[in-house]
Every structure is written in structure tokens, then in C-alpha cells.
């Protein structure tokens, strides 16, 4: 009764003091704007890409080859050109002009009026020889695109010389459909399409970043708040009224609520943006673009994000509070929270490497690590989203997380109880161990 009342009162103060500050408002606003910007990134990139037309000139010995090259380049490098006339108001990515004066065209390319000039000459053996004159050099973007186009031009030219008609050539290059199925014949869940799995991957990746930010940022808040009370000696006044355990729980709870409010705003901004993305894309780009992220946003993924975010925060926040209680000055906080920072960063890095494919997310080591309590909040989400982790792995990691939170709070409360009244000393590992054993 008393305990709950005090935990509530301490948590309430934490929330009121933090939410009222200008920095909280500004910070939340920036985070929401940031997440909206990220959600609309595909649309934004598409928008800028669209207005950025690459102009290329073709100089060919034979007019037929020149016309063929122009048609091939424009068809190949402008995705929407296949539909015939381009949408009003939208410009093609690449425009091609046929020139006869190579020297003049090269001057224009040198001045930057053209991205480059593709020179095509018929060699003695009948094959086409291509030279690309461009300031982009051998590795530039237009060079890479033109290399691709040149291949197709040469291929069409060879087919033409072999007597294959245009229609036959088109049939030759028609794409095939590759069916994908699970190797396990008893597995019945459908294989997700490319858009959904790419979207879910990206979302899980973004959520892992958010969880990492929540833990580092709000964990530090908890530690700072503890040290602030210690430095200002409010601690002694409060400890007369409340137990260290209540103080710790209230603080973690209060900062947790603040974190929840801030991230609810961020997530709401993100979800709404993702829902709006296809509509906005069709308005701005004239096409719906890839709705990858929208398709990947499933209730299950959101639930897992919430669970790992909240449980991960509780686990780390308790220890951040304990670390804060060991030092007396704000300057010493960073050193005290170093272990938590190192462990969470390590978990985050491994999680990111695994989800980007730098590490094999199916390897036994990653499988084991992703169940370990301090690491699972950063590692399991990505594995669960891609379907690599079995359901029992997810359940096990959550169970271990809950168990370790209970343990962490017990340990933290003891360190906290002993640490809050230690002034001026900087306890090392041995002192911390002694505090744990003796309690006070």
C-alpha cells in the first residue's frame, strides 16, 4: 500500500518534471519529424530522382545503329517508358540525342551539358565497338548504366546479324517466374512475397535501432536522475520517507512512462506515415512505388517490438539506476554506466550484422546469443521478422528476459540501497560485491 503509493508519487514527479521541459517537447518533435522523414524516404528519393534527367548523346557510324541505340537506352533506363508516352509532368530519367559531330558532342560532355557521349563504331570483324566519353570516369553512375545499355545494344545487333527478328528477340528475353517454396514439406505457412519480407526486414531493423535508442537514452536518464538526487542531497530527504526499492522502482517506472509517451508519438507518426505513403507516392510520383514497408507492418511485429522494447528497458534501467547510485557527481555517470553501454552496444552491433547478412543469422552462435537476456532485445526482433527464429526461441528469450528483470531489480535495489548514501567514494568491483553481500 505504502510502497505502491510512493512508487506512484516518485514516478509521477519524474514524469511531470521531464514532460514539462522544453527540451522534451523539442526532442519529441524532432524524433517524430525524423521518423516521418524516414518513412517517406522512398517517396522523397523517387521525387528527386525523377527531376534529375541524365542527358546522353549517341554518335554512331550507321544511322540505324544510332536509332537502335537511342531506343534501347531509353527503354532500358526509363522504367515507365515501356508504357509509351510518359506521364504528363514527369520527366524521363534518361534522354538520348543522336549527334553526328563527335568532337562537338565531346565538348558538350566536357562542359557538363551532357552526362556523356556514347561513340559506336563498326569494327572490321563486324561487331560494334563502344566508347563512352564522360567526366564520370569508369566507375560513375552514368557509366554503369551505359555499360548495361551497350551490352543490350550489342546483343540486339548480333541477333539482328544472325537473322533473328525483333519479336523473336523480345520473346527470347521475356522474364521467367521462379516459384519459391519451403524445403520442409510439412511447413504450411505461406512464403511471403519479396515486398513483404523486404519491408519486414527493414522495419525490424528500424525497430531494433529504436529499442537501442530507448535503452541507451532513457537508461542514461535514469542514471542521471539518480545522480542528480544524490548530488543535490535530496536523496537523504526522500530516503526518510521511501525505501531505496520504492525510489528505484518509481524512477524506472516514471522514466518508462516518459519513454512510452515519447515513443508512442514516434511510432504513431511512423505508422500513419507508412499508411499514407502509397497515397502520397501516387500523388507525387504518379505511381504507388513499392509499398514494402506498409506490407511488412504486421500486428505481430508491433507486439514483439513493444515487448522487447519495454522488457529491455526495464532490465537495463534497473542496472542504470544502480550504476548511478554508485557515483556522486554528474561527471562520473558515464564511467559508471560503461558496462551497460558496452553490453547493449555489443548486442546491437551483432544484431545489426546478423540482420544485414554480415553474420549468418542461422548460425548456432547467433541463435544462442539471441536468447541471452541482455542481447535478445537487440537480436531477436530481426531474426523473428525474417522467420529465421523458431517461435519457441522467441518465447524462451522473452521468458529469460522476464526472469532476469526480477533478478536485476533485486541486485539493483541492493546496490542502490547501499550506494545512495555513499558520498565521495568511488567503489570498485570489490566494494560493489561487498555491498551486494552485506546489503548495507
Amino acid at each position: 500500500m505504502t510502497a505502491l503509493r510512493n512508487i506512484r508519487a516518485i514516478g509521477r514527479r519524474e514524469v511531470e518534471v521531464r514532460i514539462r521541459t522544453r527540451s522534451f517537447l523539442v526532442g519529441t518533435l524532432l524524433l517524430v519529424l525524423g521518423v516521418i522523414a524516414i518513412a517517406f524516404l522512398p517517396v522523397i528519393i523517387g521525387h528527386f530522382d525523377r527531376t534529375d534527367t541524365t542527358r546522353v548523346a549517341v554518335v554512331a557510324d550507321e544511322p540505324a545503329v544510332g536509332a537502335q541505340a537511342k531506343a534501347t537506352i531509353e527503354a532500358l533506363l526509363n522504367p515507365s517508358a515501356g508504357a509509351g508516352a510518359t506521364t504528363p509532368g514527369s520527366q524521363p530519367d534518361v534522354t538520348v540525342t543522336i549527334e553526328s559531330d563527335l568532337a562537338a558532342a565531346r565538348r558538350q560532355a566536357a562542359d557538363g551539358q551532357l552526362a556523356g557521349v556514347l561513340g559506336i563504331a563498326r569494327a572490321a570483324d563486324g561487331s560494334l565497338a563502344f566508347t563512352y566519353y564522360s567526366n564520370d570516369g569508369a566507375a560513375g553512375r552514368s557509366t554503369a548504366e551505359l555499360r548495361l545499355a551497350a551490352n543490350s545494344i550489342a546483343m540486339a545487333d548480333r541477333l539482328g546479324r544472325l537473322g533473328v527478328s525483333g519479336a523473336q528477340a523480345a520473346a527470347l528475353f521475356a522474364p521467367v517466374d521462379l516459384a519459391v517454396a519451403w524445403p520442409d514439406p510439412t511447413r504450411t505457412d505461406p512464403v511471403r512475397n519479396v515486398a513483404a519480407s523486404v519491408g519486414q526486414d527493414m522495419l525490424a531493423f528500424g525497430m531494433t535501432i529504436l529499442i537501442f535508442m530507448i535503452i541507451i537514452m532513457y537508461g542514461n536518464w535514469v542514471a542521471m536522475s539518480v545522480v542528480e538526487e544524490k548530488a543535490s542531497r535530496v536523496m537523504e530527504v526522500i530516503l526518510n520517507a521511501a525505501t531505496p526499492y520504492q525510489l528505484l522502482a518509481g524512477k524506472v517506472f516514471g522514466v518508462g512512462v516518459v519513454a512510452f509517451v515519447q515513443y508512442a508519438a514516434v511510432i504513431a507518426g511512423g505508422v500513419v506515415s507508412l499508411q499514407l505513403q502509397p497515397a502520397v507516392a501516387s500523388q507525387v510520383l504518379g505511381s504507388t512505388g513499392a509499398g514494402d514497408l506498409t506490407q511488412g507492418l504486421t500486428p505481430a511485429l508491433l507486439l514483439l517490438f513493444g515487448l522487447y522494447g519495454v522488457l529491455g528497458f526495464l532490465l537495463y534501467a534497473a542496472l542504470y539506476a544502480a550504476a548511478g547510485s554508485l557515483v556522486s557527481r554528474q561527471e562520473d555517470v558515464n564511467a559508471a554506466v560503461m558496462p551497460m553501454t558496452l553490453i547493449s552496444t555489443a548486442g546491437y552491433m551483432v544484431g545489426v550484422y546478423a540482420s544485414t547478412g554480415l553474420l549468418d543469422s542461422r548460425s548456432p552462435a547467433i541463435t544462442v546469443l539471441s536468447v541471452v537476456p541482455f542481447l535478445s532485445p537487440f537480436m531477436m526482433l530481426g531474426r523473428a521478422a525474417t522467420g529465421v527464429a523458431q517461435p519457441w526461441e522467441v518465447v524462451l528469450s522473452l521468458a529469460l528476459l522476464v526472469g532476469s528483470i526480477a533478478l536485476a531489480i533485486w541486485v539493483a535495489a541492493r546496490i542502490y540501497a547501499a550506494g545512495v548514501l555513499l558520498y565521495g567514494q568511488r567503489p570498485g568491483m570489490r566494494a560493489v560485491w561487498r555491498l551486494l553481500r552485506e546489503g548495507m
Binding site: 514527479r13 538526487e229 542531497r233 526518510n240 520517507a241 548514501l421 548495507m440
Partner: protein, 311 residues
């Protein structure tokens, strides 16, 4: 029903902070806890409040262990003042009181009453850090007593207050005592203790040197004090008497300490024989004199703005 501290011992590393401290504070009294810096006052208070565990010894209030009582019977004003610098005065007062179970509405009303009484009502909505040190200290005091604790422990409550605020705090303490509260405060300003305390204890190096009702402690050395003012203005002869030491010579009067076994009345008779007398007084030694005699010169922990106001 009394606060009883029994043979407390506490060691910090190589330092024996408390070496068998025993005290008895009668309920409804103001009790002064006197000692130099590091004598063990703060440690004793923290143990009484269960903020720290003793290595040995017990603390009871009304026969029950101190830690078994609900927290709301205790009020504590630490020596290092502790408030939230960036929180509004009224908000933090309400916060502290709610931790002891006072409702927010009742806490707000009581806090405003006390702020008005200490003449800082206009600061209620301001952030604490904008207040002067003296005013912050008054806020600290209010934070200590809003939940109406039965036992009030205060560590150096008068340090840093100007004479007017010292007067306000003293009248507040006397009022709380008259309402039946038990008050313990530590100080090194012995004039404050002398003027305010029903009982005192002197602690030095973790041991109680003497304790009891203030009057008995003042008499505990066996010395008496005489103050003499002669019309001639010359009282130098006092120092020539057997067992009499002049402790203060002045234009207005001369003060002398009379050793145990010497009758102060003999000094008075000698004065009358010397000529016309303007003032003759026999008194107990001040606490400061007793302290100096028992412990040695007191180390000032902090120079105060209030040089014994009203003493």
C-alpha cells in the same frame, strides 16, 4: 514513551564513528546534540532514522524498534540541504508530503500556510534555485514538518540563517514542541542550544561525554560563574582570590569562573567589602564553557550569520 538510543557502534573503515552512543530523549522535549565536526552527530541521526544500520546497538521509540514505526512519524532535515533545484517550491513540498501519505490537497494547503508564516508565500510558484539560501532553508524546514512527524531530527538547522530567520525558526520549533512533538537537533552554536533545549548531549569522537537536562549539564563541571561590576570599574582583584579565574574582563562587567568547592557567595561578600557594587550575579557556566572544559575548543563547521541571536 521516549526515544532511546542504546550503545550504538558504527565503524567506517579505519574510523570508529560511533563508539557506544547511548541517549534518552524525553517525548515533547527539545533535545540538543552538541559536538564538533565529525563527532558522530550525523551518523547517530542517520541510524536513528534507519537510513543506516549500526554495527551494534539499538534505537527504540516508545519501546518499539525505531525501524518498525511507519515512516510518517519521522521528520528529517539533513545538514546538507536537499531539494530539487529546478522544481517549483510548492510542487516539491507537495511531493515530499505525499511520500508520507498526506493527500495532495491537504499538503498544498499546509505548505501555503507555512510559506506564509515564514513570509515566503510569494515564492511558492517559483523554482527553488531562484530563492536565497536562507529562504531555501526555510523551504527545507517546511518539507521536513509538513507531514506532522512525531519525532523531528534536524542536522544544524540554524546554520546559514540570518537573525530574523533564526527567530522565526526558533518560535516554530517551540510551537511544535508545545504541540507535543519531540525535537532533536544538532548544532555547534551552543548559544542556540542553551536558549532552546530542554536537554542536551555532548558527543565527541563517537562517545557521549555528558547528557541530561540543560541545567544539569551546565552544572556538571561543578564550576559556577560570577559576574561583577564595581562602581570603580576595577574588578581585577577577582583574579587574586583562591579558586577564581577571570574569564572575561570588560568595561561593563567582569566575569570569573569559580572552581568547585569555592563558595560563590564568598566572592560576592568580598566584592561588597571592596566598595560600591553595580552588579553582582552568580550563574551556571554557559554550555560553551562546559563544552570547552570537557571537550576542548569547538571547531566551527561553518561560520554562521547569526552570532547567537537572542542569547
Amino acid at each position: 514513551m521516549a526515544l532511546e538510543v542504546d550503545r550504538l557502534r558504527k565503524r567506517f573503515g579505519a574510523v570508529q564513528a560511533l563508539d557506544g552512543v547511548s541517549l534518552r530523549v524525553e517525548p515533547g522535549q527539545i533535545f540538543g546534540f552538541l559536538g564538533s565536526n565529525g563527532a558522530g552527530k550525523t551518523t547517530t541521526m542517520r541510524i536513528v532514522l534507519s537510513l543506516m544500520r549500526p554495527d551494534d546497538g539499538t534505537v527504540t521509540w516508545d519501546g518499539r524498534p525505531a525501524h518498525a514505526w511507519p515512516r510518517r512519524i519521522w521528520g528529517y532535515m539533513p545538514e546538507e540541504r536537499g531539494l530539487y533545484a529546478r522544481m517549483a517550491v510548492i510542487d516539491q513540498l507537495v511531493h515530499f508530503a505525499t511520500l508520507y501519505g498526506v493527500t495532495r490537497a491537504a499538503a498544498r494547503k499546509a505548505a501555503l500556510d507555512w510559506l506564509a508564516r515564514f513570509r515566503i508565500a510569494e515564492h511558492a510558484g517559483r523554482r527553488l534555485e531562484t530563492l536565497s539560501k536562507g529562504n531555501q532553508q526555510k523551504v527545507q524546514f517546511i518539507a521536513t514538518i509538513l507531514h506532522e512527524p512525531d519525532v523531528l531530527l534536524m542536522d544544524e538547522p540554524f546554520v546559514g540563517l540570518d537573525p530574523i530567520n533564526v527567530k522565526m525558526l526558533r518560535s516554530a520549533l517551540l510551537e511544535l514542541r508545545d504541540r507535543g512533538r519531540t525535537i532533536v537537533f544538532s548544532t555547534h552554536q551552543l548559544e542556540q542550544a542553551e536558549a532552546l533545549c530542554d536537554s542536551v548531549a555532548i558527543i565527541d569522537h563517537g562517545r557521549i561525554v555528558t547528557s541530561g537536562p540543560t541545567r544539569e549539564v551546565r552544572r556538571s563541571t561543578g564550576h559556577r560563574v560570577v559576574r561583577v561590576a564595581m562602581e570603580s570599574g576595577d574588578a581585577g582583584w577577582l583574579g587574586e582570590m583562591e579558586g577564581v579565574t577571570v574569564t572575561r574582563g570588560g568595561a561593563d562587567y567582569t566575569e570569573a569562573r569559580v572552581a568547585p568547592g569555592v563558595d560563590p557567595q564568598a566572592v560576592l561578600r568580598a566584592a561588597v567589602r571592596r566598595g560600591p557594587v553595580l552588579r553582582l550575579e552568580v550563574a551556571d557556566p554557559s554550555l560553551e564553557e562546559v563544552f570547552v572544559e570537557l571537550v576542548g575548543a569547538i571547531e566551527a563547521e561553518e561560520q554562521t550569520l547569526a552570532p547567537g541571536a537572542g542569547a
